[in-house]
């Protein structure tokens, strides 16, 4: 590169501080942006156990560039590409600034989230991107964007000489909905409904993370029973998602009876959630200031449903893990080494299969998690699809355990506490960060309010963070492993594409 770039002291200082933080052992939580007057604010989030810290800098419109953090922090690359798509600000030094979520035509307007103004027509260029063909006899197999089954749309380009997966590229922009822009101008009461639809299979976690941000800003403490209720719905969501991951594995392995059994268990969980909330996805329960309704079943009905579901799931999982034609497909498949997982700051069960134990419920307890006996799961280092699956299985056990505790506590509080949500100041201003541990891993919400209206909301799903690492999960795998590795990552594409 012959060009030399001159950044202001503020910008270089920001990049240096973030890099140093990560070098000292903090986990990179994300890099976000929001429009301000004739500038764009970059906000980096670093997490270190119980503490979450932020650092920010203004990038002036006169020089819309900054030194790429991803040179040292590989986890930052997708964030830098996303910020380039939405704001047009360049990370200098990033090897590949390809479009990630929005491939706009050069010279077109960009969404400029947070500006609160219409930026003009945004032209999108869908012509296929280049492929990285390497070597003789190598060809590219596109998977998607219309997948061969009932899946969300995403495109994978697999480069292969025939059987081995040499290189993988992921294109997530197909189903980008521009949902962040829709938050702007809404009040928090509507905002939570949209948060539930950012990553629809993790509606409860997203609603909790969004509401926590609003509640922190308002200085509001939610009622204890509301916290317990949030735990109940969030853990049922975790069980449903982990069962979905098991279902995807059994489908890939052609285990027809196991597939039928686990889809049945999942249906039971979804029906229990509908009986508790009126929605099979727990929507409408979590609202700013608490929850909107008490569980729709009695304590004994809840206990008997939980008992029945747990007994069925446990027996079938035991049999599944003892089925050699299943376990053999997962063992040693799609290894994410602990080193890769650490460098990418892997989240959720994907991280916990590779020694990254970050769990927002334990590190920075929210809702009622601090008062329940939530134990950390086993430290695993194998990093293969089997380790990720075992992590999910153990998490389900823990979930059943804390659901029972939460129901017990709610029963004790019954009648002693009003369940209605705490009112939130209708003219709230300021910004804050909320979080929750979704089934896929930690969800972050950066929320900015001005006189009761949302001016910028940036959700960060664990799916987004983890999928950046997906191409590193094929060290020695072949085409037939692909479905297992994809299922073991368990990401929701809606939460990646935004």
């Amino acid at each position: 590169m012959s060009e030399t770039f001159v950044f202001s002291d503020e910008v270089t200082g920001f990049a240096r501080r973030v890099s140093e933080g990560v070098r000292r052992g903090a986990r990179f939580g994300g890099l976000f942006a929001a429009r301000e007057q004739s500038a764009t604010r970059l906000l980096a989030v670093l997490e270190d156990g119980a503490t979450i810290s932020t650092d920010s800098v203004l990038i002036p419109d006169s020089l819309p560039q900054y030194p790429a953090l991803s040179l040292e922090i590989p986890a930052a690359a997708w964030y830098e590409r996303e910020i380039h798509d939405i704001f047009g600000i360049e990370a200098i030094g990033l090897r590949r600034l390809d479009p990630l979520v929005l491939p706009v035509v050069t010279g077109s307007s960009r969404p400029q989230s947070g500006s609160g103004t219409n930026t003009g027509p945004i032209e999108i260029d869908l012509s296929p991107l280049s492929t990285h063909l390497r070597g003789e006899g190598v060809f590219t197999i596109p998977y998607g964007p219309v997948r061969s089954g009932v899946f969300e749309s995403i495109e994978y380009l697999v480069e292969t000489p025939g059987e081995d997966i040499l290189h993988l590229r992921t294109r997530v922009f197909h189903k980008h909905r521009g949902i962040e822009a829709r938050f702007e101008g809404m009040g928090p009461v509507d905002g939570v409904l949209l948060a539930e639809r950012y990553e629809g299979v993790a509606s409860v976690a997203h609603a909790i993370a969004f509401c926590s941000a609003v509640e922190q800003l308002a200085g509001v403490e939610i009622p204890a029973s509301a916290g317990l209720s949030r735990v109940l719905h969030a853990e049922l969501e975790r069980i449903a998602n982990h069962l979905e991951s098991v279902i995807r594995h059994t489908e890939a392995a052609g285990q027809a009876v196991a597939y039928a059994r686990f889809t049945l268990h999942k249906e039971r969980v979804q029906r229990l959630r509908a009986a508790l909330s009126g929605s099979r996805f727990g929507r409408g329960v979590v609202v700013p200031g608490g929850v909107s309704m008490p569980p729709g079943l009695s304590t004994s009905e809840m206990f008997s449903s939980i008992d029945e579901i747990e007994a069925g799931v446990r027996a079938d999982l035991r049999l599944l893990m003892a089925t050699p034609s299943f376990g053999d497909r997962l063992r040693g498949t799609g290894i994410v080494s602990p080193e890769v997982a650490r460098r990418f700051g892997a989240l959720g069960p994907v991280g916990r299969g590779s020694g990254q134990m970050a769990d927002a419920r334990i590190d920075r307890p929210y809702a009622a998690y601090g008062t329940l006996g939530l134990r950390a799961i086993e430290h695993r280092l194998q990093g293969d699809a089997l380790a990720r699956q075992r992590a999910r299985m153990e998490e389900m056990e823990v979930s059943f355990h804390i659901i029972r505790q939460a129901i017990d506590r709610m029963e004790q509080l019954h009648g002693r506490e009003l369940l209605s949500a705490v009112p939130i100041d209708p003219n709230l201003s300021g910004h804050s960060i909320g979080w929750a541990e979704a089934p896929q891993g930690e969800v972050l919400y950066v929320v900015q309010l001005n006189e009761g209206r949302l001016t910028r909301v940036k959700p960060r799903s664990a799916s987004f963070h983890n999928l950046a690492m997906f191409q590193a999960a094929f060290p020695k795998d072949v085409l037939t492993d692909f479905a297992f590795i994809e299922a073991s990552f368990g990401v929701s594409i809606a939460g990646v594409a935004g």
């Binding site: 197909h174 909905r177 949902i179 829709r182 949209l194 049945l264 999942k266 027996a315």
Partner: protein, 292 residues
Amino acid sequence: MPWIPRGLSEGVLTSRYPRRADGYGPAFRASISVIAPAEASTHIEGSAEGCPTGAITILDDQPQIDRGKCILCGRCTELRPDVFRFDPGFETAGLLREALVVPQIAENDEALRLARAELGRRARALRKSVHIRHIDVGSDGSEEWEVAALTNPVYDVHRLGIFFTASPRHADLLLATGVGAAGMLDALKQTYQAMPEPKIVIAAGVDAISGGLLGRGYASQGGLATTVPVDVFVPGSPPSPFGLLYGILLALGQLSTADRNPRYRSWEPSDKYPGVADPGPRSEEFGDEGRT
């Protein structure tokens, strides 16, 4: 081998819907109905604290709710429980976009008859084996769970001769979800074009019908009907598996028994069914069949 007894351990769990009513459907909140007149008030229709998707209009004291926009958040039922009510019943799909607006004021019987006749011609050619191609055009991910649930042992659509196929070349019916994300519109067109005639399109969920809460935006078209000709609209955010199944059977004209049974006509003015509608016979667990 140990899986065989496991698979048989719980007996038959499969619903007999549509041959018989299923207890689960009516136990589930699936739509909002207007139960009384109300004066126009921006508090409900459009203000920031009112209906978040603008699904409600009030003209001459007659409120109407557009189920093609309603995300079932229930705010209107909290603000005005005297006017709006959650109703059970999953048979909310319709053949005409206008028919999702309830209660109906304009007569569109003739339009409905024409749509039904035209769709019937196509559906007859498909006879008793129907292959579905699903496509995600910008969903939130929950719709895919509900579509996939149709193959679980409870709904088991295979018993009705309905199958999912990977290739659009083999598909008779396109089941599309999502708001119409700009990056998926070409894929939607190509998938539709690749399907052989006769073909049927279902827009599954309010996102696919109107864009839902997201509506129109820089990357969202606000529904799919401007890209492909939609034959059946299935409301819901997301639509429940029974709601989807009803929509599929409606498209295929396989609801002759249901048409005669007033219980299925949940889009009728609900004052026919005072109070919460009869939830029908309940089983031990799934539908009216229970374990055998």
